[in-house]
């Protein structure tokens, strides 16, 4: 009889532990469900000159291209995107750059001739992290619809050229 009581008590305590674990796991699943790479929805922020920038209207005919400038290779990145800009701007595409830190934004501020696109220094956390994630994979982003995931366009690989990237950014997506 005593053994039965002991077993019931142990069972009760084990049930409590098992339920607590289930609850933690369910919570974790619910929380992790939001942990996919966050989407980029709009280019909003403060540019390197302290002025607000907001590009949240774009379409198939007027897409938005966003990319990251890295401080440690700023000159190289700027040369690439100045060339891309020459090839795409007349075709209705807006380009917006994000700086990856102080060395980049200081570098842009010191330029004698400012780049032909906005350069954001302070961005929204979700969009900025989405872009940082994609830049780690060597991509920039093309947005045509704020409700759809942006298209990734590779540009940091050795084979990428401004002409190739401009063609991809200009291409009409289905």
């Amino acid at each position: 009889m005593l053994l039965g009581v002991v077993l019931l008590y142990c069972g009760f305590r084990l049930c409590e532990n098992a339920l607590a674990i289930r609850s933690d796991q369910n919570w974790s699943r619910a929380n992790l469900a939001t942990e996919q790479k966050p989407p980029f929805t709009a280019a909003k922020g403060i540019n390197v000159y302290g002025k607000p920038v907001s590009v949240d209207i774009f379409s198939k005919d007027h897409p938005l291209g966003v990319f990251l400038l890295r401080g440690r290779q700023l000159e190289q990145d700027l040369t690439f995107w100045r060339s891309v800009s020459d090839l795409v701007v007349k075709k209705g595409l807006t380009l917006v750059a994000y700086c990856d830190g102080l060395s980049c934004s200081d570098g842009v501020r010191k330029l004698a001739s400012p780049p032909p696109f906005e350069v954001i220094e302070y961005g929204e956390a979700v969009s900025s992290q989405a872009l940082l994630n994609d830049d780690r994979e060597g991509n920039c982003l093309k947005l045509v619809d704020s409700k759809k995931r942006p298209k990734k366009v590779g540009w940091r690989s050795a084979e990428s050229t401004p002409v190739k990237v401009a063609m991809e950014l200009n291409a009409h997506d289905k």
Binding site: C15, K44, L102
Partner: protein
């Protein structure tokens, strides 16, 4: 005699069932993966884990935020949003922890995921915290802020001393304050 023997058999059967059930529960508790709230993926792989200066930024209405004072005893970043129900569920425990941190001389920075999700001045916890809707990417690139709420605590030397992703459990504020006290002495 027969009924006694039947009763004994029933009792033995019940005990056997209880033993099997308890064994099963014990095995489940031992082998079930337990969620670890200290997310090992908080840092980006490219991050050098070196002390990170407090984030600088702007509010949703484009006003530059006051920088964390260099005289501060430490600082905290809470990544949270008005649209996140986990953040609302977490409000009571966070409020208690924020008060303890403020008593220790910690400054608190609230980062919102999107400028549309900014808190009103009355909704901020604590009210004296600095809210950033636009954040310096140089700071953001170090930390993987992938879920709200996330809380990061830094000491006066800007080293990360405690982090938690998700709602705070009852033990978390105690754990966080232990870390704060520990790093004050070291």
């Amino acid at each position: 005699m027969t009924s006694n023997s039947l009763g004994d058999k029933l009792l033995l059967a019940c005990l056997a069932v209880l033993i099997v059930l308890d064994g099963g529960l014990w095995a489940y508790v031992k082998i079930a993966p337990i969620y670890n709230p200290q997310d090992p993926n908080l840092f980006y792989a490219s991050s050098d884990h070196s002390p990170a200066m407090p984030p600088t930024g702007f509010t949703g209405d484009d006003q530059r935020t006051v920088a964390v004072s260099s005289a501060s005893r430490g600082w905290a970043v809470r990544y949270a949003s008005t649209n996140c129900h986990f953040c609302r569920d977490d409000q009571k425990r966070w409020s208690g922890l924020a008060e303890q941190l403020a008593d220790k001389g910690y400054q608190i920075v609230t980062i919102v995921p999107d400028s549309q999700e900014s808190y009103s001045a009355d909704g901020l916890v604590p009210k004296a915290s600095v809210q950033q809707a636009y954040v310096d990417l140089g700071w953001l690139k170090n930390f993987r802020l992938s879920a709200t709420p996330t809380l990061l605590l830094f000491d006066s030397k800007h080293g990360l001393i405690w982090a938690h992703k998700g709602t705070l459990s009852i033990a978390d504020p105690i754990d966080a304050m232990h870390k704060v006290s520990y790093w004050e002495k070291h």
